[in-house]
């Protein structure tokens, strides 16, 4: 029985370091190759030695697919391809291919230049790695090789985020990456067709949350920012350069315009303008409204939002600053946070999920004293607000996707174990399908039951379709009989037995039987035969029954002759001869005229036994 195996190397009952291995129909596929924000040691990257202890990964993987540009999904890519060694195809969408190297370079700079780590991937490695990338278009069916095909669907999580359908023969798996089922201010909602995969591998970041309407959250957010500005406070919004940042910028830009606010809004890195360029050029990946109006007004040209300079942080008066990275684990957002943390008028708004171990995660959990490097502690006095703006599907959204795709099995990754457990129960209850949630390094095996595609000879098919009766109901199933020829387990042909003999160059072997049956019948031989003939004719409608002049009656391959017994002219000897394959045997027996009461005559027994 064919099996599909799924092993997370990362993101198994965890968020971060997404990396999932799938074995399907003899193909090995790696889904995402991310890094973990919560670690600075070896645990930062997936443990590729799980695949092979020594040597390159190329021999063990048929392809690698990256779902979107967030580092927890692509951060280990240059390490994997250039340092561990992988030369096979890497697939990602055009926007991901464009943006991913920039974020990788950023990540490299922070790690190597700022933290001084060595033995890390280099700029050249990022470039070399990107050369192996094959861009994917939405809905395009890409043939990785003769058997393995992949197809990308819109996931709506960030620009260029994709879900991917992986198919080998009639077995298939869908991997969602991160996705969002509700359209936001700059992206559309995820969508997939009813592709009925054997396994749907879904993220489950918000497995237990059912979020209120986006509009309410937006109003809350604007209210908080506004209040803080009004009382002269500074607002820090840690974000990743691409994604949520653009959504919130659009939100604030329109609010500032409407309320005629004067407080400056800054965006921290030099990436801003460049980032906005990507949005302009990949406008087809944004939501419908933006796409429709982009010719008149490009939503990604901001009037109120200016580039930030490090010195502005000490300026007096209110301001709003978007700073990277989003989890306060390094870089500019952390520096500004340290500066502003002591003043209760200030505010930090965390608009996304924070991985365990990051400062973002700590302050969100109410920690007000932070241990910094060099034993210093930082008192957190500013207001800490959490607004769930990160574009992940919530429990409702996950259920909605299951309804869309109709998977046979469900597998959860990219979430916390406790929350997954809850969602698993819900899924199993509502959809009556198995739901798995393997931990890292743990393998889930699902047996599949694929139907076997076979080439049927048109002659046989037409014949069987015609046999459906005089007025065939096309919906009504018909029985068909044939011979399946299997060559080297690759070619499957279904043909009629006759054709099978020909195809295989075999001779036919005829097997015939002959027996004598005695009957009591006073008529002449010819009469007896004629009575048999007329009776068979009346009973076996639709069959050709021949009465030949040489004194034989023939039905299909059955030959009947009558002669009188030498001793008694009333005893007739019926000579019956038939082939092994005869079809009408039952009917023929039913139709014989001379049967007496069932079971009483020895002759009957003989006839019965023929069958």
């Amino acid at each position: 029985m064919p099996e599909i195996k799924v092993t997370p190397l990362g993101a198994g009952q965890d968020v971060g370091r997404s990396c999932i291995l799938v074995s399907i129909g003899g193909k090995n596929i790696m889904l995402d190759c991310g890094m973990h924000m919560g670690y600075n040691d070896d645990r930062r990257f997936p443990d590729f030695s799980y695949i092979t202890q020594n040597g390159r990964l190329t021999d063990f993987l048929d392809c690698l697919i990256i779902s979107h540009f967030h580092l927890d999904h692509c951060g280990a890519l240059p390490y994997m391809s250039e340092m561990v060694g992988y030369d096979g195809p890497i697939y990602m969408t055009h926007p991901t291919k464009a943006i991913c190297p920039i974020l990788l370079e950023d990540f490299r700079k922070i790690t190597v230049d700022k933290k001084g780590e060595t033995n890390f991937f280099t700029s050249q490695m990022i470039k070399d790695c990107m050369k192996k990338v094959i861009p994917l278009n939405l809905h395009q069916t890409v043939q990785v090789d003769d058997e393995l095909e992949i197809k990308a669907y819109y996931a709506g999580h960030v620009l260029g985020a994709a879900m991917v359908h992986i198919k080998v023969g009639s077995e298939s798996v869908v991997y969602t990456g991160d996705y969002n089922m509700t359209p936001d201010r700059h992206l559309g909602a995820a969508w997939i067709d009813k592709c009925r995969p054997d396994i749907l591998i879904s993220e489950s970041t918000y497995a237990t949350t059912i979020r209120d309407s986006k509009r309410c959250r937006e109003r809350d957010f604007l209210k908080k920012v506004h209040e803080s500005i009004e009382r002269g406070g500074k607002v820090l919004i840690p974000v990743f350069a691409l994604g949520r940042a653009q959504e919130l910028c659009i939100l604030l830009e329109t609010f500032w315009e409407r309320m005629n606010l004067k407080a400056p809004i800054y965006f921290s890195t030099g990436l801003t303008e460049k980032a906005n360029h990507y949005y302009k050029l990949f406008i087809t990946w944004t939501n419908q409204k933006i796409r429709k109006t982009f010719v008149q007004r490009n939503m990604f040209e901001f009037k109120h939002i200016k580039a930030f300079d490090r010195s502005y942080a000490d300026n007096p008066g209110p301001m709003v600053v978007f700073a990277t990275p989003g989890m306060l684990h390094a870089g500019q957002s952390l520096q500004i946070f340290k500066k502003w943390a002591g003043n209760e008028k200030n505010m930090v708004i965390m608009p996304g999920y924070c991985v365990q171990g990051t400062i973002g995660h700590k302050i969100l959990n109410g920690q007000r004293k932070l241990e910094m490097e060099g034993r210093a502690t930082l008192d957190v006095k500013l207001q800490v607000e959490y607004m769930s703006f990160s574009a992940h599907a919530d429990a409702k959204g996950i259920m909605q996707l299951i309804r869309m795709a109709e998977p046979r099995n469900m597998l959860l990754v990219h979430g916390e174990a406790v929350k997954m457990e809850f969602l698993k129960g819900k899924i199993e209850q509502e959809f009556s399908i198995d739901c798995y949630m393997p931990a890292n390094g743990e393998t889930t095996t699902v047996t599949t039951n694929p139907s076997v595609p076979v080439d049927i000879s048109l002659n046989l098919l037409k014949r069987e379709m015609a046999l459906g009766g005089p007025l065939p109901d096309p919906k009504k199933p018909r029985t068909m009989h044939g011979t399946l020829i299997m060559k080297e387990n690759v070619s499957f042909m279904l043909v009629s037995s006759e054709q099978a003999l020909k195809e295989l160059g075999l001779n036919e072997h005829q097997l015939r039987f002959t027996c004598h049956v005695q009957l009591q019948d006073p008529h002449s031989d010819a009469d007896t035969l004629h009575r048999i003939y007329t009776h068979l004719k009346s009973v076996l409608k639709g069959y050709t029954i021949q009465h030949l002049p040489d004194g034989t009656v023939i039905v299909e391959s059955i030959v009947i002759k009558v002669s009188s017994s030498a001793e008694d002219s009333n005893t007739k000897v019926l000579l019956l001869s038939w082939s092994y394959q005869v079809k009408t045997w039952t009917l023929f027996l039913e139709g014989l005229p001379m049967q007496s009461k069932p079971g009483s005559s020895p002759n009957h027994l003989v006839i019965e036994s023929l069958f």
């Binding site: 055009h94 291919k97 464009a98 861009p135 939405l138 809905h139 395009q140 069916t141 043939q143 197809k151 009639s170 009813k194 360029h277 050029l281 990949f282 087809t284 010719v295 039951n449 139907s451 076997v452 595609p453 076979v454 080439d455 049927i456 048109l458 098919l461 096309p474 018909r478 029985t479 068909m480 009989h481 044939g482 011979t483 399946l484 020829i485 299997m486 060559k487 042909m493 279904l494 037995s497 099978a500 295989l504 075999l506 001779n507 036919e508 072997h509 005829q510 097997l511 015939r512 002959t514 027996c515 049956v517 409608k541 092994y580 394959q581 005869v582 079809k583 039952t586 039913e590 003989v606």
Partner: protein
């Protein structure tokens, strides 16, 4: 399988393919050459045009002064221009399930097909094709609607009168079928039926949905609509066996060829394709391999003009005119080759010292077309894609606009009239010179020999286009740029992909009329291509022996294969056949429920043996020695063997039974049923079952 040909224009095709039980329209081209018979629509009052004399037949019997005007010896219809539509009588358009669009030039007749015809199907096109196609339709509607002409001319269409008219009006065909332009409302409604597809996307087509929808609509008219929709929805879940997918054709943004196939039949539809490296993604050739039938349309209309050479000529003529102080008018479509022209000029401007010359692009869709061209990175050639990764706009006209070298305006009215400086270069439509802003520039610049008009679009004969403006002083340069496949490229392509049969417009099977000696300007193939013309109905040849069928897992697991030769196994299959929407599946025969004995006889006779599997065919031979040994093992020892010409006869003396063993047959003559069964099974051991 049949092909209905609704258009005779080789580059603006409209064919309908009946494939299995699906009806698929391939392209929806609108033949606009008919507008050449009409007078231009001026944007501002033109005294010259309004003073043209009306036409009266020489003998004075026919007076059509109001409808027909004479200009430089030719007669033009003075009414809103009309288009020659695809044939609408050849088949019922409401039966079309699917329309496949290959590029934005080949969809301009869409509203005539999808509106007011009962059409309920789906249109498939790529995103650039839809967006740019929408713009071009919008532009066409705009051109017509902003200079409304109340007068409609119909008298000249009368057969008796048309016969008397001078050419080319006299020879125009099907003039009664000509139609005015559609409205924006019809465009929107038509385009709302488009479903977007990506290259190599496999679109599974459910063929009978419409049929059933119609039937159910008929049967359940009383049932509330929601019920109907749920039924439709249910049907769409089914998988049909007909699959269509678009392939990059390299001609324009999002242009595609199409593959229509089932598991054992493949039709390739090749429409406007290009092997030149311009801006679109390169043509996908290899996917066209192994086609049973390849329908070939949209070859170059200028087989003798080299696009690169024409581009050079375009630039040098442009520079020459500007240096001499004249203006250059380039009548063109608002999308397509214009991107290449601008890119070429971007490199040329500085070297030719044209840095200060203003370039204008005037069209109601100029801005949109330029903006849209920059956002379709996925559909562009590799070089342009790489630019987007930087991120930079893929087309250099962004820079031309930024540096104010290129300016675009929605029309000659408004800003343009105040900012307009001469000498200049103007790109504007429509290339037929019958409507659009180009008409104004013809009137404005036509009288001066300093000015030049450069034709780059190949769709219209430039002499015919210029006819209503004669006499003209301005210079005319004809550099048609047609990047579509030429005959040399197409024969190489066909050699490579080797379709079994090729279907093409009849124009491609003979040299052009004007160059009848050029046998290199036609398709020569073995077997010869099947030509079509407007209104042809072709039977497409398919020699197919197999069909795809799916064996459900339960049945597959129950099959018992036996190896016949090394690597070859066989299994006999008895199963239930389900056929639905051209998709066939086999499943196990369910065990028949026990039938009450009283009814047995009747039931059995009425229904042929449904559940009863027939005995397999046998093959092989029974070896005498081994068979005797087997008999002995079963206690049959008294066997008399007699040799015959073809084999042996075994006489089982104690049992009074004969067994005739021959190379290709065995005959058992035996009156005892149990013994016969035993013997049968013993014989079967030696034979292979199929």
């Amino acid at each position: 399988m049949k092909l209905y040909c609704l258009s005779g224009h080789p580059t603006l095709p409209c064919n309908v393919l009946k494939f299995k039980s699906t009806t698929i329209m391939l392209d929806c081209g609108l033949d606009t050459t008919s507008v050449l018979n009409f007078l231009p629509l001026p944007l501002v009052h033109s005294p010259r045009l309004s003073k043209l004399p009306g036409w009266v037949s020489k003998d004075g019997t026919i007076n059509l002064e109001k409808e027909l005007k004479e200009c430089a010896g030719r007669v033009f219809v003075d009414a809103q221009p009309e288009f020659c539509l695809p044939e609408r009588e050849l088949l019922d358009l409401s039966t079309i399930d699917v329309i496949l669009i290959s590029n934005y030039h080949c969809m301009m007749a869409l509203p005539y097909i999808t509106e007011h015809t009962g059409f309920t199907g789906t249109v498939y096109a790529t995103e650039p094709t839809l967006q740019i196609g929408r713009l071009l339709m919008e532009e066409l509607v705009n051109f017509m609607e902003r200079v409304p002409k109340a007068q409609s001319a119909t008298s000249w269409k009368n057969k008796e009168i048309q016969r008397m008219l001078p050419g080319p009006l006299k020879d125009a065909v099907d003039v009664w079928m000509w139609k005015r332009c559609y409205s924006m409302q019809e465009v929107n409604s038509a385009l709302s039926k488009v479903q977007l597809v990506g290259y190599s996307q496999k679109v599974v087509r459910i063929d009978s949905v419409q049929e059933i929808f119609k039937i159910s609509h008929f049967c359940f008219r009383a049932v509330v609509t929601s019920r109907l929709f749920s039924r439709l929805f249910f049907l769409q879940e089914l998988f049909g066996a007909v699959q269509v997918s678009p392939l990059s054709s390299g001609y324009s943004l999002g242009s595609s060829n199409w593959i229509i196939q089932s598991h054992h039949e493949k039709v390739s539809y090749v429409s406007g394709s290009s092997l030149l490296t311009t801006h679109p993604q390169p043509m996908d050739q290899s996917s066209l391999k192994n086609s049973d039938v390849l329908i070939l349309t949209g070859l170059t209309q200028m087989p003798t003009a080299n696009p690169d050479g024409m581009l050079g000529e375009f630039c040098s003529n442009l520079a020459m005119t500007i240096r001499a102080g004249g203006n250059v008018l380039v009548p063109c479509y608002s999308s397509g080759v214009i991107y290449d022209l601008l890119e070429c000029l971007y490199q040329f401007i500085e070297s030719a010292n044209l840095g200060t010359t203003p370039f204008y692009f005037i069209s109601p869709i100029a801005n949109s077309s330029l903006e849209f061209s920059q956002i379709f990175a996925e559909w562009l050639c590799h070089n342009k894609q790489t630019k987007v990764y930087l991120p930079e706009p893929p087309f250099p006209h962004a820079e031309l606009i930024q540096t104010n070298k290129l300016k675009h305006y929605p029309s000659i009215h408004g800003d343009f009239s105040s900012e307009f400086r001469q000498p200049c270069v103007v790109f504007t439509g429509h290339p037929s010179l019958r409507f659009g802003d180009v008409v104004h520039f013809m009137e404005l610049w036509g009288k001066s020999s300093l000015n030049t008009i450069i034709f780059t679009e190949p769709d219209f004969s430039y002499l015919d286009a210029l006819a209503p403006y004669q006499p003209l002083a301005m210079k005319c340069v004809y550099c048609p740029i047609d990047t579509r496949l030429n005959f040399h490229q197409v024969s190489k392509l066909l050699k490579e992909v080797q379709p079994l049969h090729v279907v093409c417009p009849e124009q491609y099977t003979q040299p052009p009329l004007t160059q009848s000696h050029r046998s290199d300007l036609m398709l020569e193939l073995q077997p010869p291509p099947m030509p079509y013309r407007r209104c042809s109905v072709l039977n497409l040849p398919f020699r197919r022996r197999y069909e795809r069928i799916y064996i459900l897992p339960e049945l597959a697991n129950s099959l018992v294969p036996s190896e016949i030769k090394p690597g070859v196994s066989v299994a006999t299959v008895s199963a239930l056949l389900h056929s639905k929407d051209n998709k066939h599946t086999l499943q196990s025969v369910p065990k028949p429920p026990p039938m009450p004995p009283s009814k047995k006889r009747k039931r059995v006779i009425e229904e042929p043996p449904v559940a009863l599997a027939p005995k397999p065919m046998l093959s092989g031979a029974v070896a005498l020695e081994a068979f005797l040994a087997t008999l002995q093992k079963h206690g049959i020892t008294e066997v008399k063997v007699e040799e015959t010409a073809d084999g042996h006869i075994l006489h089982l003396q104690a049992e009074d039974t004969l067994i005739q063993l021959e190379e290709d047959g065995t005959h058992i003559v035996c009156d005892s049923e149990p013994l016969r069964t035993t013997l049968r099974d013993l014989v079967l051991r030696f034979l292979q079952k199929l």
